[in-house]
């Protein structure tokens, strides 16, 4: 007993003396540091390369002009920029209400088997490849409507957003302590008002963060738009007509044989990357700012 205590005091626990263990500890830390450094190098290279190729083609004209035919300089990506914004807006409008409702339902009815079925359904939906979702939107929306449209593209993106937002809403609301709900109920507040006015505001930061990350995820999706929004060389504001988007423009122009279009594609890639990065940063800031302490 006394022996053991002496050992602990001198740092002599088990094998090896203290300085050797500190050495091992250091070695391991350095190892982890170097490996994680190596792993980030390709990521940084990609970012650097996109920035290098993209920034060259970016100027004011780039944002306000439409793409020009091959051989002409000075084209821009205005239609794709507007298209991406409209697609994101429309798909958010379609996805957010049902997705949040689903999330609330799942967190409020954890034990019901029906809710478990819905939970697995949501997970399966999350795993479906985006190209398949594009085909589904084609069958459900494009064919009945008789043509490609931004609306059908938004439906495809919304289908991708719903499971993500539902899951993040569920996870957020599950973390909200029961005693908060009870506090409201004990004041005679009806159940639905308790959910709307107490539980959801307490989870607002998590819900909003989930929405923003969902948007960031679909902003770069190409596959679901190929046979839905389709793409458009001209400016279009109508959700019932084909519409361009940043990833569609990149897809179409990067595969073309023309240098002017290549540089448009690089510029668009850079804009897209910055956009997604900004969305992620915003979500981080919001989730800190609006964090509720219980």
């Amino acid at each position: 007993m006394a022996d053991k205590l002496e050992n602990i005091k001198s740092g002599n626990m088990g094998r090896g003396n203290l300085s050797f263990r500190i050495f091992k500890d250091r070695l391991f830390k350095i190892f982890v540091f170097v490996i994680s450094g190596l792993a980030t190098i390709p990521l940084l290279l990609i970012l650097f390369y996109i920035a290098k190729m993209g920034i060259a083609s970016i100027n004011w004209e780039f944002f306000i002009n439409l793409p020009r035919p091959p051989g002409e300089v000075g084209g821009g990506i205005a239609n794709a920029l507007v298209g991406t914004l409209i697609l994101i807006l429309t798909s958010s409008l379609i996805a957010i209400p049902p997705a949040i409702a689903l999330g609330v339902f799942m967190s409020e009815n954890k034990t019901k088997s029906f809710s478990k079925w819905i939970g697995s359904g949501v997970e399966i939906l999350q795993g479906i490849p985006s190209i398949v979702i594009g085909i589904i939107a084609y069958v459900w929306v494009v064919r009945p409507m008789g043509g490609f449209s931004a609306l059908s593209g938004s439906v495809a993106l919304a289908i991708m957003m719903i499971p993500f937002i539902a899951k993040s809403t569920e996870e957020t609301l599950k973390m909200i302590p029961l005693h908060l709900k009870e506090a409201s109920m004990a004041l005679g507040v009806p159940y639905y008002k308790t959910i709307l006015k107490v539980v959801m505001p307490a989870g607002l930061s998590g819900i909003v963060t989930g929405v923003i990350i969902a948007i960031a995820r679909v902003a770069g999706e190409t596959a679901p738009l190929l046979f839905t929004a389709f793409g458009n060389h001209f400016m279009s504001y109508s959700i019932f007509k084909p519409m361009n988007s940043l990833p569609l423009l990149i897809f179409n122009y990067a595969g073309s044989p023309y240098d002017e279009w290549h540089s448009l594609a690089w510029g668009a890639s850079f804009v897209l990357v910055v956009m997604v990065l900004l969305l992620n940063i915003i979500s981080k800031i919001l989730s800190k700012r609006w964090k509720v302490k219980f």
Binding site: E182, L187, A202
Partner: protein
């Protein structure tokens, strides 16, 4: 002759098939503090949550019998009305973290969508905070978040929030068990003073606390009501052997 504000008649409670309250008969007297005492798991929380129908949200809980508030059966009334007439303070302070102190106090009105004039609102907030002995501490910070207060202050804020609804009965489930001795003393003092406004039912593990602040004491044991008497009488000359054993610390 003191009036009986609440009568519990032949009351049984079950979780799934396990019976946790057995044939409880009890009348609570108006403007008194009634302490409910007993060893852990004897059904104290179950009993007081039955009084404002909080079990409605526990799917596996089942209640039998009657609880009459001023001779009206609670289980025939709208649960929402019941909870406005019978307020509750919980073991852990639970102010609404997204609301200011002011909004916490009138949360019962706000969340229920009850419209109040600005004057009424201010009066209710001031009155409730004065009753919960908090007004002087927070009157300059009414629009700050309630979650920055100390634990004891948060609990008094929760009492103020319950008082703001002008309840007939206030239920307190071990309101001081999460607090330090000083905050506990403060809450105990407060409960003694509040008797004039509201009838209180207090669950406590702490025999000394029951002795200090309650007029009547109920002793529950394994879901049975063993003894109910004036506190000083029960503390000095308990009738039942089990009460005596509990009071002398033989179990608990």
């Amino acid at each position: 002759m003191e009036s009986k504000i609440l009568k519990i008649k032949d009351f049984n409670a079950y979780y799934d098939d396990a019976q946790v309250l057995k044939d409880i008969n009890l009348s609570i007297l108006k403007n008194n503090v009634t302490a409910i005492m007993g060893p852990s798991g004897c059904g104290k929380t179950t009993l007081i949550r039955a009084i404002n129908r909080m079990h409605d949200f526990t799917p596996n809980a089942r209640m039998e019998g009657e609880i009459l508030l001023n001779n009206e059966d609670l289980y025939q009334m709208e649960p929402i009305i019941v909870r406005r007439k019978i307020g509750m303070v919980f073991q852990r302070p639970n102010p609404f973290p997204t609301m200011s102190i002011f909004d916490n106090v009138i949360a019962g009105y706000k969340l229920n969508g009850i419209k109040l004039s600005k004057e009424d609102r201010n009066n209710i907030v001031e009155d409730s905070l004065r009753k919960s002995a908090m007004w002087d501490e927070v009157k300059d910070n009414l629009h700050k978040k309630g979650s920055f207060l100390s634990g004891g202050q948060q609990q008094r804020l929760c009492i103020a929030r319950a008082l703001a609804m002008k309840p007939e009965i206030l239920l307190l489930d071990e309101p001081t068990s999460a607090l330090d001795p000083k905050a506990t003393a403060h809450i105990e003092e407060l409960i003694s003073e509040l008797k004039d406004y509201v009838t209180m039912i207090l669950v406590t593990h702490n025999i000394a606390q029951a002795a200090r602040i309650s007029n009547y004491t109920v002793f529950l044991y394994l879901g049975e009501l063993v003894e109910y008497d004036k506190t000083n009488k029960m503390m000095t000359t308990p009738k039942d052997k089990r009460t005596e054993e509990y009071l002398t610390g033989k179990f608990g």
